[in-house]
Amino acid sequence: MFKQFISKMPGAENYLIFSLLTFFTFFVLVGLYLIWMDKNHLEKMASMPLNQENSQDKNSNQ
């Protein structure tokens, strides 16, 4: 169906390859990002919503 559009679409493969490469590169970067994160920092970030009541302690204990 509607094959006439697809066959006339110039550079359709380039779009697909570019999309795949963008996607792949992006995930490699995010993967590295996560691997390099240190655990203490993650824990600190995760507990952020729970620590508001004593915010001054949290800030001063950096």
């Binding site: 169906m1 509607f2 094959k3 006439q4 559009f5 697809i6 006339k8 679409m9 110039p10 359709a12 779009y15 697909l16 570019f18 999309s19 963008t22 996607f23 992006f26 995930f27 995010v30 990002y33 996560l34 390099w36 994160m37 240190d38 920092h41 993650l42 824990e43 600190k44 970030m45 995760a46 507990s47 952020m48 919503p49 729970l50 508001q52 915010s55 001054q56 800030n59 001063s60 204990n61 950096q62």
Partner: protein
């Protein structure tokens, strides 16, 4: 700098704005759901279509706008205004902007509630509001953004918690979506035409529609989940690492998946396939969020047994998981071929809306209002009742809709052994579904009852407590904290504490997918083979088309015959991209409560349409379509006809100067022909009535390609 020299600053959280948005959420929630129950009733009881301002076609956009932008919108602002102040340890940047945001947003909702029943609509789903309201939305959204970023800049917490990442990406993406999908050429104060036409218009709209679900109904709620669930369960999120991974993955992948709304349409096949591939990939980040939410409750399931607020959260997050698994499945071509245009999609949407958005909003309100009113909830028992009645309501809503959708899809495709359509009369399939529609209305009514109980319970809570309008807090200023981060060498921290980088990063992520998918719409234009016989609408047909738009016919009738034998047998030749080049806006629709109308032209005599619009059941016994008797009485307004043709010409429709200057004269000549046709069948009607224009449009639909 040594910590002991740190001086703490005192400041106050603004709870009044949170209270205001909470009340708006409750009120608009009940209103939006009530309209939902009314339109659900109209689908099995046509007499429930009261007056021309209360038909299904006009109320359906009112329902969707009310629940999305009024209920969910206000719920987002409630949750964001409460959480962002505390996560950033700062009062909102500007009280004026907070109040301006609140009141202007409510005014926009009131404007929508007035204009949509009056038939002032652009027809783009979830973007129906006309151009002046679009401008107002842009201004208010900007005010929200300035207020949010102003607060971020004056924060006392160096790192931005992941919930704020979700809020930032919501802000920037909704802004981009709204701007791109609101490019209209005004004709008058409440009438405009989209600059895009046909296939391009369809792709822009569904790029918007799909991502409005992503960035208005999903990302802000994930942000809210990441703040409120740990607060409610009193434990940190299961995996902060996972939250970051699924944040970036979600905002990157979501934007690509829009074309799955246009499978089997005139969109290039590779773009459709790209949409499908990314839709499947979306399962991963979506489930990342669901798993992270549910696993936050690991070891705390005893709390869930006791705590009704957590029960709401669990059902909400589970519904999110169900809907985000089902969405990618629905984008598979073989499933889409059956499900598209049926109640299946309605079921899918409501698992997300009632379960995810509704239940999370309820949980947040129940958690938050007693806190800012410094009291306990008025009735714990009513909260429990609400939970169960709401959950049963969801089941009563979605299960019949799944059965209905599947039945409908299969019946449309059923052939007899002789090779003819088993249910050749579309109405046979509609009538089969009525019991399911009744059960759905019951489910909706149960859900609404729950929301009314909540409204009563929360207003009672407010009246027994007293609002802590300005909540005292203290924290060290950011400048002091900033000097002590010498050990923070990792580059990810660079982004975690810099909102502008986050904003730009989010923008790039969504623009990559958008650009790659929007470019083809322009490519398509140059590739759509011109169909020589396709001509612009005559002035009378254009006026008829605007009546079709005003009455919201697109809510129930598609104009897109897909290339299936079951559809070409039923409707005729499948739709070609070249047929829609003058359609500003496109009217393909997304749901077939009634049959497709793309090949309606010439199928019946003018008199059939006249009688059918006056009383549909006189021509189709048992029809659930409402009567449109006012079209027979109301005079066609031709004061803007010439302006409309001129506007179309500006948009590239090849009207000649002569055609524009003679617009009204030509309109009258064509109207007289239709009047004469009707008179020959003993129908007496004057040629200046709206029905004449509508008949002209319906008789033109899809006929150009068969002209020699």
């Amino acid at each position: 700098m040594s910590t002991n020299t740190t001086s703490l600053e005192q400041f106050y959280y603004d709870n009044k704005i949170v209270r205001n948005f909470s009340i708006a959420t409750i009120v608009w929630g009940v209103v939006g759901m009530l309209v939902g129950v009314i339109i659900a009733t109209q689908l099995f009881e046509p007499a429930a279509n009261l007056t021309q301002y209360g038909t299904f076609g006009r109320l359906r956009p009112l329902h969707t706008n009310a629940v999305i932008f009024a209920f969910v919108g206000n719920a987002i602002f409630t949750g964001v205004y409460y959480s962002i102040q505390r996560l950033l340890k700062a009062r909102m940047y500007s009280d004026f902007l907070s109040n301006f945001h609140f009141w202007a947003w409510q005014l926009i909702i009131v404007a929508a509630a007035i204009t949509l029943p009056l038939g002032m609509t652009t027809t783009h789903e979830y973007a129906e509001l006309e151009w002046p309201i679009d401008i107002a939305i842009t201004i208010v959204w900007l005010a929200f953004g300035i207020n949010m970023f102003g607060t971020i800049f004056k924060r006392r917490e160096r790192h931005l918690y992941v919930a704020i990442w979700f809020y930032i990406s919501t802000f920037i993406t909704v802004a981009v979506l709204h701007l791109a999908n609101s490019v209209e050429l005004p004709i008058s104060f409440f009438k405009s035409y989209y600059v895009y036409a046909g296939v391009q218009d369809a792709l822009v709209q569904w790029w918007y529609g799909h991502n409005a679900v992503a960035f208005f109904l999903t990302t802000p709620y994930l942000g809210l989940m990441y703040y409120y669930l740990p607060k409610m369960a009193n434990r940190p999120v299961y995996s902060y690492r996972l939250s970051i991974l699924h944040f970036w993955a979600l905002i990157f992948i979501y934007i690509w998946a829009g074309p799955h709304h246009l499978l089997y349409s005139s969109l290039p096949e590779w773009a459709q396939s790209l949409g499908v591939v990314f839709s499947i990939m979306l399962i991963a980040p979506s489930w990342g969020g669901m798993i992270n939410g549910l696993l936050t409750l690991r070891g705390a399931w005893d709390q869930v047994r006791e705590n009704t607020i957590l029960k709401f959260m669990v059902v909400g997050i589970t519904s999110y998981g169900m809907a985000t698994f089902e969405g990618p499945m629905l984008s598979l071509r073989n499933i889409n071929a059956i499900a598209h245009f049926t109640d299946w999609i309605v079921a899918h949407v409501h698992v997300g809306a009632l379960g995810w958005n509704g239940f999370l909003s309820f949980a947040i309100l129940y958690w938050l209002i007693p806190r800012i009113f410094q009291t306990a909830i008025y009735s714990e028992k009513l909260v429990k009742t609400h939970f169960w009645i709401g959950t049963i309501g969801i089941a009563f809503y979605v299960i019949p809709m799944y059965i209905s959708g599947f039945t409908q899809g299969m019946m449309w495709k059923q052939f007899t052994a002789e090779g003819t359509l088993q249910y050749g009369n579309f109405l046979d399939t509609t009538l089969q579904l009525l019991p399911m529609h009744m059960m759905r209305a019951l489910g909706g009514a149960l859900y609404l009852t729950g929301a009314i109980l909540m409204a009563y319970n929360l207003f009672k809570t407010m009246s027994k407590g007293s609002l802590l309008a300005d909540e005292k807090a203290e924290a060290a200023p950011l400048a002091i904290i900033e000097e002590k981060h010498e050990s923070d060498g990792h580059w990810h921290r660079w982004i975690e504490k810099r909102p502008i980088q986050l904003l730009v990063g989010s923008l790039i992520m969504i623009l990559v997918g958008s650009v790659i998918e929007i470019i083809p719409t322009f490519m398509v234009k140059s590739n759509v083979p011109t169909i020589e016989s396709v001509k612009p609408y005559t002035s009378l047909e254009l006026e008829g088309r605007d009546i079709y738009i005003r009455e919201g016919c697109v809510s129930c009738h598609s104009q897109l015959v897909r290339p299936f034998r079951s559809e070409t047998e039923r409707y005729g030749e499948f739709s070609k991209a070249g047929e829609f080049v003058y359609d500003h806006p496109f009217l393909w629709g997304s749901k077939r409560t009634g049959p497709d109308l793309h090949r309606e032209g010439g199928k019946y005599p003018d008199s059939w349409h006249y009688h059918h619009m006056r009383e549909p059941s006189s021509m189709s016994p048992g029809s659930i379509m409402p009567n449109y008797a006012w079209l027979l009485e109301q005079k066609l307004n031709t004061s803007q006809t010439q302006d409309k043709l001129e506007a179309m010409k500006k948009l590239g429709v090849p009207y000649s100067t002569q055609e524009i200057s003679d617009a009204v004269k030509d309109l009258k000549i064509q109207a007289k022909t239709i009047q004469a046709n009707l008179a020959s069948e003993k129908i007496k009607v004057s040629e200046d009535k709206e029905i004449i224009a509508l008949i002209a449009y319906l008789q033109r639909l899809g006929t150009d390609i068969s002209k020699k």
